[in-house]
Symmetry: C2
Subunit: 332 residues, 2 copies
């Protein structure tokens, strides 16, 4: 089969063996797979991984005819959770399976879905109902990650929220926050001239779209100098944490979603003096994401800007890095 | 009066006018004042302040004969909270007086207590009962700051806790955490050869004293590879956050107390992947600190290692920086 392999610091399309599943695994015939910020960071060398590995962890496909169980028969439309845990280590036994001490992550530390086929544990599979299209299903993984920020630190109804970063993840986060019924929801970006993104941010729930540079003025204008209760950092930019610190109110929460792999340099003393909470969050609940898509409470309309075959991977990654694009997917 | 003034990047003992209190203020005849990590950071130029200012914010004294009210008459033994707020800005009105938009902080942005006299708002004063000695009273301010970490993120009974830094603040934090009844309480330091500190840490509540370099092994040995539920960073060292990240369990909390003023460089991606909470906390409840001292639930025995007159300030600050000292105070 063909697969997009990251090896020796480079991406390359290779022919490799179709995976042979273990007893507890299933083979997915991949149909669509989204490029995520982490993929870009891995490809650029910022996010260090133990290569070689097939990238791709936002994957939709069908259970291959060679696989299938009574619950998830061959041909089922599925997505896969990305963390593969051992189930027996102390972290797993303490209920933290997504933090297993022997964790493997699909598309990061074990082969992912930028390929014709993906082998994944059966327990990681989630059925996609017919009312969710193939392309919508690509968003289940990042949408679950967006939901997860509300699990790690809840968003109070009637609070004030700012999402820094209006990209592929930020536009999902905006919608998730909107569901929490904030009093004020703003998007903050250094791409305020990018009309498409700004209009999308507005149509998906942002009351205002503000510029990153004007952070301090925004606090004055929109929160009477108090600052935002919740600031989500979803830029993928290591410098953005200091901006988030400007925007957040004393004793407020900065929810961090970026995993760019680059050490950040920031004013921790300011975070202490403001008594701020900085909360990391990662992978989230797939079933809740599927429900939100099914119930049309989250829209992916307009989010996919570019579609490529695997053989066009160079162009695809270039596009994914460009501010003109939002979600770039492979059609396989 | 004499006062230790930080001006143009230097500390100097000067003769300045005795302060004239505003109507809402009282004059304290300072008797004892502790040197804190923030004072050292200010004196070294790391923590930037708008000088000139009299340093000193851990202050015990008596209400001067020129001052006093019916509730707090002249001669009363008192300590003073350090934040002076306007009471009318939106932050004050929203209940965040310690984060007032026009905040002045005694010994940092308005004159402090390394001086014969200190002028402070009457509402900032707290009476010290006779059962608390003058030298114990110096610890009310830092003890309140130690308590505050449990207010910003509670410490669950039966949890596992590590305090990184066994200094003037760390030894108070250990005692505050002990009161929360953790299952495991360890102190972590790069001064494991300093017997006095390590013995103090043990006698004040630490089950074990571990070395900073062996952080990863400690996680294995003491928490079965899971990591500590709570890690308190109280080193005053900008590099310590990455150590705390090694020690904390996935979804655990790092409580940050250091305000060294230096930008920190750390692996935010790891914090996101581990879904860690980094919680800053600063000034705390004085009455609770007074109660803990009064009820002998927190001990300051052995913590004051050096006493100096104001005129010996150079020696005092040198001592305060040395790992052999713990708390250095001025006797005025």
């Amino acid at each position: 089969m063909q697969a997009l392999v990251f090896s020796h610091g480079k991406l390359a399309l290779r022919r490799i063996e179709k995976p042979v599943p273990k007893k507890t695994e299933a083979i997915i015939r991949v149909r669509k797979a989204g490029i995520c910020g982490t993929d870009i960071s891995i490809a650029s060398g910022d996010y260090k991984i133990i290569a070689p590995v097939v990238l791709g962890h936002e994957v939709f496909g069908e259970v291959d005819e060679s696989s299938g169980t009574s619950k998830i028969p061959s041909g089922s439309r599925v997505v896969s959770e990305i963390n593969v845990s051992c189930g027996v280590c102390n972290l797993c036994k303490s209920g933290l399976r997504n933090h297993c001490s022997k964790i493997c992550t699909i598309g990061i530390t074990r082969n992912g879905g930028f390929a014709d086929y993906l082998s994944t544990p059966i327990e990681n599979l989630h059925l996609i109902p017919d009312s969710i299209s193939d392309e919508e299903a690509v968003f289940v993984e990042p949408l679950a990650a967006a939901i997860q920020l509300t699990k790690m630190a809840s968003i109070r109804k009637g609070s004030t929220c700012a999402v820094v970063g209006v990209g592929r993840l930020g536009l999902l986060i905006l919608q998730v926050l909107k569901i929490q019924e904030p009093k004020l929801l703003v998007a903050v970006t250094n791409h305020t001239r990018n009309r498409k993104r700004c209009n999308l941010a507005r149509s998906l729930g942002a009351h205002e779209v503000l510029s990153l540079e004007g952070a301090r003025e925004s606090v004055e204008r929109f929160t009477k100098g108090i600052g935002f209760d919740n600031v989500v950092e979803a830029t993928g930019n290591p410098r953005a944490l200091d901006f988030a610190l400007e925007l957040v109110r004393p004793r407020g929460t900065i929810h961090v979603k970026s995993t760019h792999g680059v050490p950040v340099n920031f004013d921790l003393t300011k975070a202490v003096v403001k008594e701020v909470k900085i909360q990391g969050s990662r992978c989230g609940p797939f079933e809740e994401a599927i429900t939100l898509l099914k119930e049309r409470r989250v829209s992916t309309e307009g989010l996919i800007t570019d579609r490529f075959g695997l053989e066009e991977f160079r162009k695809a990654f270039m596009k994914a890095k460009s501010p003109e694009s939002i979600k770039v997917i492979f059609v396989i």
